[in-house]
């Protein structure tokens, strides 16, 4: 296997990781605000902050890993995406900054104010929406190179049904993944009122998730036929994704095994996300960048892969430790520690 393939696989896996952990975080932000607005905050907000407090910084590093890694393995992406994304990228950064720092100010600093809860909830939806734009752009037709300059066609972007359907999909997925996780966490904490509430959220957002996915898929077929056809060739992955979705729903409805249910949700997104990614191959930005024409020098590619393996050797045991301490330590989850 060439190191470009290793590189893009590693990056895609980490992006998937970010998709899951960040969805949990962003969605939780929205639910915390929503609960407050509907006067139910006493039920779930304690639960949410117990999980999120120790891990928000880790979530952020997933994102940093992705953008540093992609520029490392495929330096041309810096040129095309960097130039085109100046404005949307900066806006996403400002939102991330507001969210991350306000989180620290409020949770460690003082009591929660309404303004803060609103910002926390709103950024929870706006950030995934703005990040989803990067996926839309990669489909081609929005970033154009003329002469020596690269630019983003805003009008086309904002009038494209594909772009809005991807944003819609991102939003409902965030809410669904997050609710599925919180259901599992509330169950571990044995917190019945919270469980009832978040399980309701999870059930509520399940159907829109599938509808949004289908819509985005249809608009993709109109925008980028090659990508769509490639994905159709991977029909078995899409099928598995749907099957895991159904299995997760079954468990959520019947009210047992929430841990397994969340795991199935993760698999549902895993297969959909990888079908999407593999279908995109070999393009990183249609039609300008493929993983072959943009990859870094071979010796750098090798060095990055070695660094990556070394990094994992450090990271995996540490992550296991975090999970043991904060996710699977029943006493901590229940708030006794």
């Amino acid at each position: 296997m060439s190191y470009e393939i290793i590189g893009i696989s590693v990056l895609w896996i980490f992006l998937y990781g970010y998709l899951i952990v960040a969805s949990v975080d962003f969605g939780a932000g929205f639910y915390a605000w929503y609960a407050k607005a509907t006067k139910k905050d006493h039920i779930i907000n304690q639960l949410i902050s117990r999980y999120l407090s120790p891990v928000w910084e880790i979530t952020n590093v997933f994102f940093v890993f992705f953008f540093v890694g992609i520029v490392g393995f495929f330096p041309d992406t810096a040129y095309y995406y960097g130039t085109a994304l100046l404005v949307p990228g900066s806006i996403a950064l400002v939102l991330l900054a507001i969210r991350g720092s306000f989180y620290a100010f409020e949770n460690y600093g003082s009591k929660q104010s309404n303004v803060y809860m609103f910002l926390y909830g709103a950024t929870g939806l706006l950030i995934p929406a703005s990040l989803a734009v990067a996926l839309t752009l990669s489909e081609g037709g929005f970033i154009v190179e003329e002469g020596n300059s690269v630019s983003l066609r805003y009008l086309e972007l904002f009038s494209s049904p594909l772009s809005w359907s991807i944003v819609g999909l991102a939003l409902v997925s965030v809410l669904f993944i997050s609710a599925a996780f919180l259901t599992f966490y509330a169950d571990r904490a044995n917190d019945q009122p919270a469980l009832k509430l978040v399980r309701g959220y999870a059930l509520f957002w399940s159907t829109p998730t599938i509808i949004a996915a289908l819509t985005a898929f249809i608009f993709l077929s109109q925008h980028n036929e090659r990508h769509f056809d490639n994905m159709m060739d991977l029909w078995w992955m899409l099928g598995l994704s749907v099957a895991f979705f159904m299995a997760a729903m079954l468990l959520l409805y019947s009210g047992k095994n929430y841990g397994l249910a969340f795991f199935f949700v993760m698999l549902q997104f895993f297969f959909a996300f990888f079908a999407y990614g593999i279908g995109h191959y070999p393009y990183i930005l249609d039609p300008y960048i493929t993983i072959h024409n943009s990859s870094t020098h071979e010796s750098m590619g090798l060095a990055l892969v070695i660094a990556f393996i070394g990094g994992l050797v450090l990271l995996i045991p540490s992550l296991v430790l975090v999970f043991k301490l904060f996710l699977f330590d029943a006493d901590y989850v229940k708030g006794k520690k």
Partner: protein
């Protein structure tokens, strides 16, 4: 000065870095201070030191948050604002940037654990040990990013043929000639600054409230550390100057207003320029030769040997002088305190001395800023010295000016909220109260 896209790009990067470096320095330095305090506390079974570690860690969470978000901003901005630079440099210097992320990961994970597991382990050293990966992770991220900056000054480890990379050696690029002295100086100055910050806060409390046992111990420990790292920083700075003299003479010459190559060169401190003649400056005969090569008679290259368009702006002279002056002060002030505290008859808590210690905090941060402005502006016009100029590297997007103001607003909000939150956090919860709550059996101080 023209405010075109290049200028706005430089201003945006400079502003983000100038803001990030404040929190990055705290992020590198403070975990070590926490580790030292907690270790002494456990060793001596002294709750005062344990309380220091606890309180510093609490404040630290807030500054880390800003460090993380501004760091994320600069990390992405490197691609957004300097796409051509990253496209080129990505081929050669991606390795340390990538490894830096692992260092962050490592730091973030253990920081989360450390902060939420006070009193969760039977053996107190277990909790203390959880801080070691934080110290190492933060230190390593500073090391890695500094090698990137070293590479920008001293690009090595690649060969270009016909505009293409013919060979790339990522390790050689990372361990470029600029790396050793730069890493040493950046790390020592970060530890110095963190110690000075904590010493300053403690001295300020003593001045405003009173000298409790807790504050006396904290003062002694932090000022001692300021002294140790102050000496190391000055040593590292001297080595950095020797590096410049040999490998980047135009930066040293511009910083020193040294126009003609000569032996036994004078050191010019402050003053102003009249054409090429420094006026009103303090001249120390032969000192520049000594600073540069450790020999009063050595020859130091002057600006006359460089083409005009490759000479950096001459105002960096002030940046250099201010940094070095502060470097001197940060050795002398703690030394004074240490001497006074050794002599029985003298009182180390006298107002003058305490105010001087209060000054070390802001001074150290100023030195960090001056040092970076000297190092970065002194690299002009290059972004990758000898290979790519800043102008060639900048984005072509017309919106860069707008983004500058967007981020400026963000930093103003973040900075303000950070100060407000920290003040609230500590004012509502003074050390004495917290000590009593956690250690009810502790004897009261002798104040």
């Amino acid at each position: 000065m023209e405010f075109d896209t290049v200028m706005m790009s430089r201003l945006l990067t400079g502003m983000t870095l100038a803001f990030h470096i404040i929190f990055a320095t705290i992020g590198v330095g403070v975990p070590l201070m926490i580790a030292i305090a907690e270790f002494i506390g456990i060793r001596r079974k002294d709750p005062h030191y344990l309380m220091m570690a606890r309180r510093w860690a609490r404040g630290f969470i807030i500054t880390v948050a800003i460090g993380v978000v501004t760091g994320t901003a600069i990390g992405l901005q490197l691609s957004l604002v300097w796409p051509n630079f990253m496209q080129l440099a990505g081929n050669v210097i991606a390795l340390p940037l990538f490894m830096e992320v692992f260092a962050f990961f490592f730091e973030a994970i253990f920081l989360g654990i450390y902060l939420y597991t006070w009193d969760r382990f039977k053996n107190p050293y277990t909790h203390w040990a959880l801080n070691i990966p934080v110290v190492l992770g933060a230190g390593m991220s500073a090391v890695f990013i500094t090698t990137v900056n070293g590479f920008m000054n001293q690009p090595e480890g690649f060969a270009i043929e016909n505009g293409q990379f013919a060979a790339v050696n990522p390790i050689a690029a990372m361990l470029n000639t600029a790396t050793p002295t730069k890493v040493f100086h950046v790390l020592s100055s970060a530890y110095l600054t963190a110690a000075a910050l904590l010493a300053a806060i403690t001295a300020f409390f003593i001045l405003k409230k009173k000298a409790t046992d807790y504050h006396k111990k904290a003062l002694k420990m932090t000022v001692t550390l300021v002294f140790i790292f102050g000496v190391l920083t000055a040593l590292a700075g001297d080595l950095s100057a020797k590096f410049l003299a040999e490998h980047q003479p135009e930066k040293l010459a511009a910083g020193e207003w040294h126009f003609e190559t000569e032996e036994n060169a004078d050191l010019v401190l402050f003053g102003w320029l009249d054409g090429e003649e420094p006026q009103g400056a303090i001249r120390i005969p032969g000192a520049l030769s000594f600073l540069a090569f450790g020999d009063f008679n050595a020859e130091v290259i002057g600006l006359e040997e460089f083409p005009e368009e490759e000479i950096p702006p001459l105002w960096i002279h002030y940046m250099f002088d201010l940094m070095v002056t502060i470097g001197g002060a940060l050795v002398i002030i703690p030394l004074l305190y240490l001497i006074v505290s050794r002599v029985k008859k003298w009182n180390e808590y006298n107002k003058g001395l305490l105010w001087m210690i209060v000054a070390t905090g802001p001074l150290a941060f100023l030195a960090i800023e001056f040092g970076w402005f000297y190092a970065e502006v002194g690299r002009q016009p290059w972004i990758l010295r000898g290979y790519m100029t800043v102008e060639e590297a900048a984005t072509t997007s017309p919106y860069i000016g707008l983004m500058f103001f967007l981020f400026m607003a963000l930093y103003i909000v973040l900075g303000t909220l950070c100060v407000v939150t920290l003040r609230k956090l500590f004012r509502d919860n003074p050390a004495e109260l917290e000590l009593e709550k956690h250690y009810p059996n502790l004897e009261k101080g002798d104040d």
